[in-house]
Point group: C2
């Protein structure tokens, strides 16, 4: 991966926020500093960065991919009221059933749904 100003900016944006933005949120944010950046470039870089493991993707019920700059092992909570995504740094335990089934686990994505403090 070569250096590119656009990619650095995208990485900086994602790593600098904790709200798990979608591609177009990142696009609009990027345009503030780089007015000519295109949506295609944003998508291309996000895909590449996710494949390289620099960032993480979060598949949610809103059908849009969310991105997370924090690659440490953690889970997420999504509020059914306001849609906010909250990091949970105590990840779920891998079910013991997995070893009996002969499966090798290399990653996990656990999402908890419910209501946040403001919404209940």
């Amino acid at each position: 991966m070569r250096y590119s100003r656009q990619r650095e900016l995208i990485i900086e944006i994602i790593k600098g926020r904790k709200d798990h933005p979608t591609a177009d949120m990142i696009y609009y944010s990027a345009r503030e500093q780089e007015p000519n950046i295109s949506l295609g470039t944003v998508y291309r870089n996000l895909k590449q960065l996710a494949e390289e493991g620099v960032i993480i993707t979060l598949e949610t019920e809103d059908k849009r991919l969310h991105y997370d700059g924090d690659t440490s092992r953690h889970s997420h909570f999504i509020c059914n009221g306001c849609g906010k995504i909250i990091d949970l740094f105590k990840p779920a335990n891998v079910p013991s059933e997995i070893k009996y089934a002969g499966l090798t686990v290399t990653g996990e994505k656990c999402v908890y749904y419910g209501l946040c403090g403001n919404c209940q």
Copy 2:
């Protein structure tokens, strides 16, 4: 929700298989018994059934929604090799961090990624 032949068929298809099909897989399966059923009808019913809690949705990295007729509490394993989705009936534990954060959990979706027995 009124009775409809098409909806009954869709429910029967989903509840009758354990492979977590996508909308179009269900559509093709449904057409075998109901040749004139439309994709729109399948999508409309799947959405409705998921909202009513009759079936469950699974958001995966392949960007297509998968449906699960088993609504009991369980997790999933997705093989990075063959894409197969395997049920894990020992669900993950809810992280204790949740209660400290003032969150109320009403649901969870845990997906484990790795390789199944055939792919490693």
